[in-house]
Amino acid sequence: MVAYLLRRVLLGLVTLVVITLMVYGLARSMPGNPLTVQLGESDPSRKLNPEDQQRMLEIYGLDKPWPIGYVQWISKVIQGDLGRSITRKQPVTQLIGERIGPTVLISGTALFLTWFLAIPLGLYASARGGRIDERFTGLVLYALYSFPTFVAALFLQIIFAVWLRDTRWELPLFGMSDLSSDAPFYARCADVAWHAILPITCQTYVVLAYNSRFIKANLEEVVRQDFIRTARAKGAGPWRVLVHHAFRNTLIPLVTLLGLSLPALVGGSVIIEQIFTWPGMGRLFFESIRERDYPTIMGLTLMFSVLTLVGQLLADLLYSIVDPRVNVE
């Protein structure tokens, strides 16, 4: 077990170096740099003169070729320093710390809702497979699955923020809170929750449709197996056959899916956070790329990569728990 974990961690470290090296190279190869993009875009007259620019590039270490920059970055990372954001003048860790909460609020709730609803939906779809009500729910779920989030988000905004304005069903158009920081704590919580309804809905429905269909497809596969016939021949009722015997066997593919959703939990959705102006990680990532803010890009890349690898490792470890045939060694 220890040897296995050690091997996985070492392999993970190599993977991390490869990922970050590629992302760093790509980021640095994009046209422009934090200085030109930031200032030149907003006001051409504020463009730095070449000498100043050169001086600042030297300060940020951007005057050298990117492989050297990468080595400098990674040697700092090893010491536990993710660097400072060039455009926001803040440590990257502090930036992430500010943004991670709002993102986890949305994607954590969405993830929970997704599984909480997808499992009963999948079981229901499998139990009633082919009947008229199941076909109808299936149709609705497929329609939802193929409906792009950004369109759905706009529709929801029109319905709840425009058409239903000044009714008790009104929901905020965007943002995370309308109250100032001196408002009572509970009032602020309620306000944030109220703002979070639409983004959570948007992030839930697509994954819900996908997951419930995934569960149904897996259940249908399992239900055809011989051991299900054995369970019925033992006198188990249909519910027990489905939940105890069949569902238990679908946990194996579900664990993979769950492991893969770990990075998304913290990564957030760029589209949803952008549409609802939600101050989360997805937006931070998007903005840092636009601003060529290399330290932030790299800090986020590193974090997402680590989480992806950890998610996979957790999934593999969970396999051996849900499937006795799997041995991690």
């Binding site: 051991f227 054995t230 019925r232 033992k234 006198g235 015997h245 238990r248």
Partner: protein, 331 residues
């Protein structure tokens, strides 16, 4: 005379597919007496497994029992398993009738322990605690002669060999002391040496526990060793039925005769090629008219065999055959 333990009458099980209505079982009647072993024999595709599945209403869609009755008499009470409500049927399944399947490798749930799977059937049918069910599971593993039963109890199916798994299936089938065991090709997937062990075990358990057995097989050797009575099935119908002794000494139906001749004989001095029955078992979508065996039968006579479906006739007491010319062929 008391009612037989299980009496199947005119059972018709049909599969409704895109190719139309396929009667896999077409008017089968069988009866099994308490404590006896009935062998149901036939080639692959003749409907023996569907008959077995129909008995516990385990035929899954698009298959459906269309008509007939399956009367199961236990503790002085008769139930028609075809029409019994699902709840009552569930008490019979695993409780009064145990079932063993052909594929021991896939018939056990891979994610539960052996002990768990035996205990489950006990808990489903008896009001017992977990630990009581577990000790019953241990007792059953000992009964089916699994080595190191205490250790096996906490093992998973993949840790066991095919023969071991089939023993576990037998333990599950017997755990609630059923009146009848339906064994659907229980030894087909096993090595020859293991086959003999499993058959011995079944036979031994039957004589000790008094459980009747419906043994479904394509292997006449297995029938000769274990069965009291034999029914030969062909194309969804019973073509011959008699006691095992009678059937092996005086086979009447050309198909049965063909099957008996098609068995390899190790002691045979002559090196003549093994006799075979020409052709294949017809599928339900193209059952021949008249006698379903006539295209493969060397005794077939036009036009009677081609046009007139023969009925199952009692030729001598307890010996039934479905052939127009049974007497002539055998005289």
């Amino acid at each position: 005379m008391a009612a037989p333990l299980l009496e199947i009458k005119d059972l018709v099980t049909v599969f409704h597919t895109s190719e139309g209505r396929l009667p896999a079982v077409d008017g089968v009647s069988l009866s099994i007496e308490r404590g006896r072993t009935l062998g149901l024999v036939g080639e692959s595709g003749c409907g023996k497994s569907v008959t077995a599945m129909s008995t516990l209403r385990l035929v899954s869609s698009p298959g459906r029992i269309e008509s007939g009755s399956i009367t199961f008499t236990t503790e002085g009470e008769s139930i028609d398993l075809v029409t019994a409500p699902e709840k009552q049927l569930r008490k019979v399944r695993g409780g009064r009738i145990g079932m063993i399947f052909q594929e021991p490798m896939t018939s056990l749930n891979p994610v539960f322990t052996i002990g768990n799977q035996i205990a489950e059937v006990v808990q489903l049918h008896r009001k017992v605690s977990r630990s009581e069910a577990r000790s019953r599971a241990l007792e059953m593993l000992r009964l089916v002669r699994v080595a190191a039963p205490e250790q096996r109890l906490d093992e998973y199916p993949h840790q066991l060999s095919g023969g071991m798994r089939q023993r576990v299936m037998i333990a599950i089938a017997l755990a609630c002391e059923p009146d009848l065991i339906i064994a659907d090709e229980p030894t087909t997937a096993l090595d020859v040496t293991i086959q003999a062990q499993i058959l011995d075990l079944l036979d031994d358990l039957r004589s000790r526990l008094g459980t009747a057995i419906l043994l479904i097989t394509h292997d006449l050797g297995v029938v000769a060793e274990t069965c009291d009575d034999v029914a030969v099935m062909y194309a969804g119908q019973i073509v011959e039925q008699a006691s095992a002794v009678e059937l092996f000494s005086h086979p009447l139906h050309p198909y049965t005769i063909g099957l008996l001749q098609a068995r390899p004989n190790v002691d045979a001095r002559d090196r003549s090629p093994l006799a075979t029955i020409p052709g294949m078992v017809p599928l339900p979508q193209n059952f021949p008219s008249g006698c379903r065996f006539h295209p493969r039968c060397s005794h077939a006579r036009e036009p009677q065999c081609k046009l007139d479906p023969p009925a199952l006739r009692e030729i001598s007491p307890g010996h039934f055959v479905r052939c127009h010319f049974a007497e002539e062929i055998n005289s």
